[in-house]
Amino acid sequence: MLDDLRDLYQEVIFDHNRNPRNFRAMDDADLQIDGFNPLCGDRLTLFIKISDGVISDASFQGQGCAISTASASLMTEIVKGKTEKEAEQLFTLFHKMATGEHVEMDELGKLAVLAGVCEYPARVKCATLPWHTLDALLKGSEEPVTTE
């Protein structure tokens, strides 16, 4: 009955929702910031450690839907070991993918499991909230991020 929904809700997403990776507070984070989607109430706090321009650790806490939780979980996995610049490039690519622009899926790696979200305009912000939050963090913002 719900087979066509599998494009959006792939098993990887359920897995990351049930067992989000890097789901912890980080007491010794170099940077941390809150992200909030006022439309649906999703909120997260993102923590990162940076040394020599490289993200050495990333984690998050918060509550949100399966899409935003999985997106945050995948993001914290993939940005570890990336330079700030590489993380920003990934954000640009991810944003394009989520809003339905053409991108080379190979460059997105695991993040491609979230490609289905572009068919659901009301849910795009669920997937992009963690990335907007990371973007603001890297740009040095201290204000909480909202998707509105």
């Binding site: 719900l2 066509d4 509550q63 399966a66 849910r123």
Partner: protein, 413 residues
């Protein structure tokens, strides 16, 4: 399926459904099941036709032309005012002010009340209000230095009456209370609340946005100073609503907006305002919407608000019974006296995922904070899923809702 109940009902839901063209469609290849009525209701053909008729035959500005079309438009517009008056059992049609909706009506009143309060005064609301009956009063308090007092609710989502009573004092200059909660379905004992407030001579505004399609409202019996509602939850178009106000109150109140139609005489030295209710209706109003509201009231009267309420209550009771079979489902809002709203959460599944997954089965439910963030905070949830019933919903649709929930639980694992 509860055949017994349906057979014993004189209520012909299939006939009613035929009056709502939008219901006969597929969404994502499934028959549409529309259960987001607390957000907005669908419109019967007679309402849609009334708007088409107005634009095709009578369109003109009101209250100013001497030509035939303007007279027709004015007559239809003012007829709607009479219909609202009768629907609410107000003493006079002059006590009905047309607004964009309940929100604008509350803002209109708050704007006038602002002139009457000062530092140390209090405004009383309840913990189950919609944002539209919180924010205008917060804005008033910011401007005046008055304090907002909030009467608490219990775990069932009912007003704790003793605590409400304890908050009432001579400091309270105005009270604004919801007739029925949009997030929880709770119906407040408003007559009892109004009587109590009146003992302290506190004027009361009742937010009837949710109650209006479910409960027969009699403002004369309630004796409230103000009652507000939105047409679009009552099968009328969006962008039209009404404020009932007691004449003695409306006459004392400052206009909300300045402009055409709300004046009698304008010179550069001074303007004399028009009489009530026109004093509050500046500019060319939503004429088509107002006519649509009149047609919606006719339609509801044709079926009978009590019969509608009875049908919706049976749907709600059936849904509550059926939902008990779903272990992971927790109902948010279990008041003894509640209207046809079922707000719920599923253990481990976020309401937004519920919303998308239900949509995939053709079922429209609301997922979110329902413009009642303080209510969500009270229950410790970020959001809920909400199914809300209207006159055209069926027991089969309740079954579809339950099947839909079970399907998504299975998929989520």
């Amino acid at each position: 399926m509860n055949q017994q109940v349906e057979k014993s009902m004189p209520y012909d839901v299939e006939k009613i459904r035929q009056d709502f063209p939008i219901l006969d469609q597929k969404v994502r290849d499934k028959q549409l099941v529309y259960l987001d009525n607390a957000a907005t209701s669908q419109k019967p053909k007679s309402v849609i036709d009334s708007i088409v008729h107005y634009y095709e035959t009578d369109n003109a500005n009101i209250h100013r032309g001497v030509h035939t079309l303007s007279e027709r438009a004015t007559l239809s517009y003012e007829n709607s005012r009479k219909k609202v008056q009768q629907f609410l059992n107000a003493g006079s049609e002059k006590e009905i002010v047309f607004t964009r909706g309940a929100t604008e009506a509350i803002n209109l009143v708050a704007n006038a009340v602002r002139e009457l309060v000062t530092v140390g005064d209090e405004i009383l609301i309840t913990a189950m209000e919609h944002h539209s009956n919180i924010v205008p009063w917060q804005m008033l308090c910011e401007k005046t230095g008055a304090t907002l007092r909030v009467a608490p609710i219990n775990k069932q989502g009912e007003l704790i009456f003793e605590e409400f009573e304890a908050l009432i004092s001579e400091k309270v200059k105005f009270a604004a209370i919801s007739h029925m909660s949009n997030a929880l379905g709770t119906i407040n004992p408003i007559k009892k609340m109004i009587d109590l407030l009146h003992r302290y001579e506190i004027p009361v505004l009742v937010d009837g946005a949710q109650a209006i399609p479910h409960i027969a409202v009699d403002v004369t019996a309630l004796d409230c100073e103000f009652y507000v509602f939105s047409g679009h939850k009552l099968y009328a178009p969006t962008g039209i609503g009404a404020l009932y106000g007691k004449m003695e109150q409306l006459e004392q109140m400052a206009p909300y907006q300045g402009g055409g139609d709300m004046i009698s005489v304008v010179t550069f030295d001074k303007t004399v305002y028009n009489r009530v209710p026109y004093k509050f209706e500046a500019g060319t109003p939503n004429i088509a919407g107002t006519i649509g509201l009149g047609a919606a009231i006719d339609y509801v009267n044709g079926i009978g608000i009590e019969a509608i309420a009875e049908h919706e209550n049976q749907l709600l009771n059936y849904a509550v019974e059926q939902s008990k079979k779903i272990d992971r489902l927790k109902m948010i809002g279990t008041a003894k006296n509640k209207g046809a709203i079922m707000s719920f959460v599923l253990d481990g599944i976020h309401p937004h995922d519920i919303g998308t997954m239900m949509d995939h089965q053709g079922i429209a439910v609301r997922a979110g904070h329902h413009c009642a963030m303080p209510v969500m905070d009270f229950f410790g949830v970020p959001a809920t899923a909400r199914a809300s019933f209207a006159m055209y919903n069926t027991f089969q649709e309740v079954d579809a809702l339950m099947d839909g929930i079970e399907n998504l639980i299975e998929m989520f694992g």
